[in-house]
Subunit: 193 residues, 2 copies
DNA sequence: GTCTATATCGAGATAGAC
DNA sequence: GTCTATCTCGATATAGAC
């Protein structure tokens, strides 16, 4: 950690993270990553054995990114309701990217779920979703919704994914804004019971 | 039409339709289609100029399939509310496929929206979504919801997409059933105003 | 119309010099 | 640790015999 080698490794992961998001995993080649980093293709194999290993590192990186985002939410307010609203508004903070490339979790997941041969994808696939889900459940617990926690958490994730997918396919910013707003109303209604 | 050549063309489109759904467009090769149809790779170019042309034919085919489904809904009942409920329940009629491969429209769309080079994808991409949306709006008109029609239609599509994505990624049949049920309740509430 | 053989390219991956 | 050169394979696509 902190060595020069790790720095290059990190640059590869960062570039792959960005490219897997904007072009998709299968449509990103080693040449693409090489072009973006300036690191020659052959060098990748000093840090990773296969392309799937890079994918695993990218998934880990995204787990880390979302952990940081959630930590931010926690530090901004201690009110679980406020925290959930902040999560629901997250797509608006990345509006341009969301409209262009969809959700970094959802789009990657729906791409990898079709990969039948490999096994790593199936294992790590839901890592970020799981992280978000348990964080949501945590907030719901504090709101006295522990019995319905799992269901509500999945509902929230599903609604966010659907909104982002339609907003992405139609490149529809007004829809994104209105739907996030509706989602807030739904949160208020659902959690007032 | 009806010639032997068209029959082979149709077999290619059918196989590609199935494979694009189960493996994804980019992960389906001419060899895969050849294996499934028994028609040699080289022969494809007698019917299609490029792989994208096959994709265009598949999208057309899916438009046709969904037109037939909607026609079925219309013939089953003349009540617009019943028709919308039938649409919402559609994922349950293809439960096994939905849990394994997601939505044939949504998953293909989110794959192709990342394709930047080509232009055909951007053009035809929303063809099936557009078909469903205008059909939904049609039913909402009859229910006196013409003012909110476009918004409600997008909401319904977004909710279905989100439900299917989560059900697919987690291979979660109970969630799919419960969520479709919730969707029916939402339809009843939203359209009773 | 149908099929085989082949061209061409870019992908992931390896070997080995420095 | 870093880079170049190269291997192998499978992809789309083409040519041309039958």
């Amino acid at each position: 950690m902190g060595t020069k080698g790790s720095a290059n490794r990190q640059r590869i992961v960062d570039a792959a993270d960005h490219l897997f998001y904007s072009r998709g995993y299968n449509q990103t080649s080693f040449s693409d990553i090489s072009d973006e980093t300036g690191i020659p293709r052959g060098n990748f194999y000093y840090y990773f054995k296969t392309k799937e290993d890079i994918l695993a590192a990218v998934v880990d990186a995204r787990v880390g990114e979302f952990k940081a985002v959630l930590k931010n939410c926690e530090e901004a307010t201690s009110d679980p309701m406020q925290r959930l609203h902040a999560l629901a508004q997250l797509p608006l903070q990345h509006e341009t990217q969301v409209l262009q490339y969809g959700c970094p979790i959802g789009s990657l997941s729906s791409e990898l779920v079709k990969e039948q041969d490999t096994e790593i994808s199936q294992v790590r696939l839901t890592a970020v979703f799981d992280l978000l889900k348990s964080w949501i459940i945590e907030q719901l617990d504090k709101l006295g919704q522990s019995s319905r926690g799992d269901d509500i958490a999945k509902d929230l994730l599903a609604r966010m994914q659907g909104i982002i997918l339609i907003a992405n396919v139609y490149n529809d910013a007004p829809f994104l804004h209105r739907s996030v707003n509706d989602l807030q109303s739904w949160l208020n209604q659902t959690l007032s019971n």
